[in-house]
């Protein structure tokens, strides 16, 4: 009985298993592929598009409002047309994507970091700390994000950094609550008791045992929240608070192109809109699939 014979299945890390499960959905794979392309394009923006739309010296209003496919003064073709400032829409979209993604990702990460720290602490410390923190979270959550963001941004002024701060400020509570929820569940599991019984330091239990087991659902939430943050930034830019006009995000591009919708110069708003749409859908597809893959209840 001391030797237990069983065919040893190939060592399979949870990550590999996840990847395999993930790949089973073709839509999700398509989403992932789109996302990779988008992220790469955004990262390599300077090299993939002809113009730096944030550099005013490269713009010429005489090239403004050209229809897609027009030949511009710079000698290259504006495949997606130009806006009123003579920005090549393709370049503007890629750079706008970069700004939007940056805002979405950084804001989400910041909110995640704060939320995780607070939520984990609340769950692990319990009692008073928990009560206090959670009341705070409740209060924050009982107020719609867009209003708080609106007021905060009106306060903070314009700028990518400020948008990030505002979005992080409205999102952290959400993570705090989510992670507290799962941490409370996990904390009751026996492996945490086992760790306590082994007299492991609290910090270690929190970081090495509790956190990794609470994180997966949060990662799903976070991916979806990135999409949300991007949409929210777009909305805020649309409402006139948000990023600076000379460094337009996708939302800003849509908003400034909005006025050309009716006049038939559709490209100024439509293409950024489609780019935003594809980005958000891709993120959501990936997030959705992750949710399914990570949900143990539906897994077997």
């Amino acid at each position: 009985m001391s030797s237990i014979t069983a065919k040893a299945p190939a060592v399979e890390t949870p990550f590999l298993r996840l990847a395999r499960d993930f790949a089973r959905s073709r839509t999700a794979l398509a989403g992932l592929a789109a996302l990779v392309v988008i992220v790469l394009a955004a990262l390599l923006a300077r090299w993939v598009v002809p113009q730096d739309p944030y550099d005013l010296a490269q713009l010429d209003i005489l090239d403004g409002m050209m229809a897609p496919g027009s030949l511009g003064g710079g000698g290259w073709t504006y495949w997606l047309g130009t806006d009123d400032q003579g920005r090549d829409m393709l370049s503007a979209i890629v750079f706008g994507l970069r700004t939007s993604l940056l805002v979405g990702v950084v804001a989400t990460l910041a909110a995640l970091a704060v939320g995780v720290a607070v939520g984990l602490l609340a769950a692990y410390a319990g009692d008073r700390v928990d009560g206090l923190v959670m009341r705070l979270v409740d209060i924050q959550l009982s107020f719609p994000a867009i209003l708080i963001a609106l007021i905060l941004l009106a306060l903070l002024g314009k700028g990518v950094d400020k948008v990030i701060v505002a979005l992080a400020a409205v999102q952290w509570a959400y993570y705090a609550r989510t992670i507290r929820g799962s941490a409370l569940v996990e904390r009751r599991k026996e492996y945490i008791e086992a760790a306590q019984c082994l007299a492991l330091p609290h910090r270690r239990i929190m970081m090495r045992h509790l956190l990794p087991n609470c994180l997966p659902p949060l990662i799903v939430v976070a991916t979806v929240q990135v999409a949300h943050a991007i949409a929210l930034e777009a909305t805020l830019s649309f409402l006139g608070v948000g990023v600076p006009v000379t460094q337009p995000s996708l939302g800003m591009l849509i908003a400034s192109g909005y006025q050309y919708m009716l006049s038939g110069d559709y490209w100024v708003s439509l293409f950024p809109g489609l780019a935003l749409l594809v980005t958000i859908v891709a993120i959501n597809l990936v997030g959705d699939r992750l949710r399914d893959v990570l949900n143990p209840r539906l897994n077997h």
Partner: protein, 509 residues
């Protein structure tokens, strides 16, 4: 017949004295009239006063129209004017009252119910113009038959509240329309005043609907929800022109869009100059003015619906100086910069509102492009008007873009407000946030504003505007053009003061 108008902004209140603001005045002009009014070209016209003249340097005599009835049937008399002037400083919570226009009045006498003798403290040529800004309310309806004018403040038991106008109870004027109903944020409904003294308007009912977003406003017209709209966005004008059942009316407005260059000792938004303010150097200012291609802006950003400006009021307005010109020459600009010791330029942040003037932030971006091209790397700080005006008023911009509409329709208005040295007592420099001061120019204004003779005054103003433009402190960009779009079959004489007046809208002959 009913006329439905989609307006671009809503009055903040129906009280004619509550808020000195375009939409409020537009709403007021349908129900309440003033002694004097302006026509579409902003020339003075008799309204409740049939005629007026300056008796001496400081006394004006107004002959009032006889037989004019308020909507409640009482007759209009001099007392109504007295009461109105008395009430104006006594509007509770008014964020911006009309006292600017009444405080020149030192005394009022009414030798008979249809004659007014108005005294001013000093010579005051603009008095008739200023009397055109506010509407006259019924003293009787407000219980003010006994109120008498007192420079230090009139006495009355109580003054009508703004609420009383909003709920319609005091909406009793002499105008061509009677107020019928008002739902804030949604619509104001007016009815023809059958007893109106002047020509009867063509409409039995007029509905004003605020549709503040540009797109929906145009869409509402195209969809036939409204018959007429104010200020369709410039980019839609081509489309509207080609629409089969829409006609347009457009006129140059009294509003100039300008760049203001600050000459503070330490420039708030200029870097790369070791703390010095390059704008103190007239050459640099000239260079910036030369850098701006006004035609390009008008053509590309304003879609041709604007006119390049070379001074602060377009030709045809009182005080416009045909000899003043501005030029565009990027090479010259670069050369001037080099001469001034900035061959590599410097960095500059240009402040602009993004929701105040037509395409304001886009114009600013275009200007930034042009500045950048001569070597002055320019960032644009576009914010909502609330933030922008607060920052600007604290002089937090070295260069900003703004606009000025001369309500009086004459050149003294922009000169006095934008470039004259701020002097509280004279009301000079109220909007001068550049720290610029030119005592000689102030002197020229002083003289002009004390000259009651119109022809003489115009000459003086023309000289002053030349001096002002040449200083390149307030660089004119373009004059906005006001556009109305309406169903085919309607016609409207476009107005320089931008008001949409239903009584002037007529079904085409």
């Amino acid at each position: 017949a009913t006329l439905t108008v989609g307006t671009s902004a809503e009055p903040s209140a129906l009280d004619p004295h509550y808020h000195n603001l375009g939409p409020n005045t537009r709403a007021r002009k349908h129900v309440f009239e003033s002694l004097v009014s302006m026509d579409a070209k902003m020339r003075l016209q008799p309204e409740l006063a049939e005629s007026w003249r300056a008796v001496d340097e400081t006394t004006w005599e107004f002959k009032l129209r006889k037989g004019v009835k308020f909507h409640d049937g009482t007759e209009f008399t001099a007392q109504d004017f007295v009461y109105t002037v008395c009430r104006i400083p006594n509007v509770a919570n008014s964020p911006s009252s009309f006292t600017v226009y009444t405080k020149g009045i030192a005394g009022i006498e009414a030798p008979d119910p249809h004659t007014l003798l108005i005294k001013t403290g000093k010579p005051y040529p603009l008095l008739p113009v200023e009397l055109s800004t506010f509407g006259i309310i019924s003293a009787k309806a407000a219980g003010g038959e006994a109120v008498t004018f007192d420079k230090a403040g009139c006495k009355a038991e109580s003054w009508p509240t703004t609420q009383a106008f909003n709920d319609g109870s005091l909406m009793i004027g002499t105008g061509p329309f009677k107020h019928k109903s008002y739902t804030k944020g949604d619509r104001q409904i007016l009815e023809r005043n059958p007893d109106y003294w002047g020509p009867q308007p063509a409409w039995d009912t007029v509905v004003f609907r605020p549709i503040t977003s540009d797109g929906p406003r145009v869409a509402a017209l195209l969809a036939g929800d409204v018959d007429m709209i104010e200020s369709p966005p410039v980019q839609d004008i081509e489309r509207l022109k080609s629409a089969p059942n829409v006609s347009l009316a457009q006129a140059q407005s009294n509003r100039v869009i300008y760049l203001a260059l600050g000459v503070q000792d330490t420039p708030p938004t200029i870097t790369g100059t070791e703390g010095k303010n390059p704008l103190k150097d007239p050459k640099v200012r000239k260079a910036l003015s030369l850098a701006v291609d006004r035609d390009a802006i008008v053509k590309r950003i304003m879609m041709g619906v604007a006119e390049p400006a070379n001074q602060y009021l377009p030709a045809g307005f009182y005080g416009n100086n045909p000899e003043v010109t501005v030029a565009t020459d990027a090479n010259k600009a670069k050369q001037l910069l080099a001469e001034a010791g900035y061959p590599k330029g410097f960095q500059l942040t240009l402040g602009t509102p993004n929701d105040r003037y037509i395409n304001d932030d886009k114009v600013a971006q275009a200007v930034a492009q042009m500045f950048t091209r001569i070597g002055v790397q320019t960032q644009v700080d576009a914010t909502t008007a609330n933030v922008f005006f607060s920052k600007r008023n604290k002089q937090e911009y070295s260069v900003f873009l703004a606009g000025w509409g001369a309500d009086s329709g004459e050149m003294s208005s922009p000169l006095k407000a934008l470039i004259a040295t701020p002097i509280k007592e004279k009301g000079y420099g109220t909007t001068n946030y550049t720290s610029y001061s030119d005592p000689e120019l102030d002197g020229m204004l002083d003289t002009a504003l004390a000259t009651v003779d119109d022809a003489k005054r115009e000459k003086l103003l023309q000289a002053a505007v030349k001096r002002a433009v040449d200083a390149d402190i307030i660089i004119p960009l373009h004059y906005e053009v006001t556009v109305w779009a309406m169903k085919k079959g309607l016609s409207y004489e476009p107005r320089a003061d931008q008001y949409t007046l239903a009584q002037k809208v007529t079904p085409a002959k």
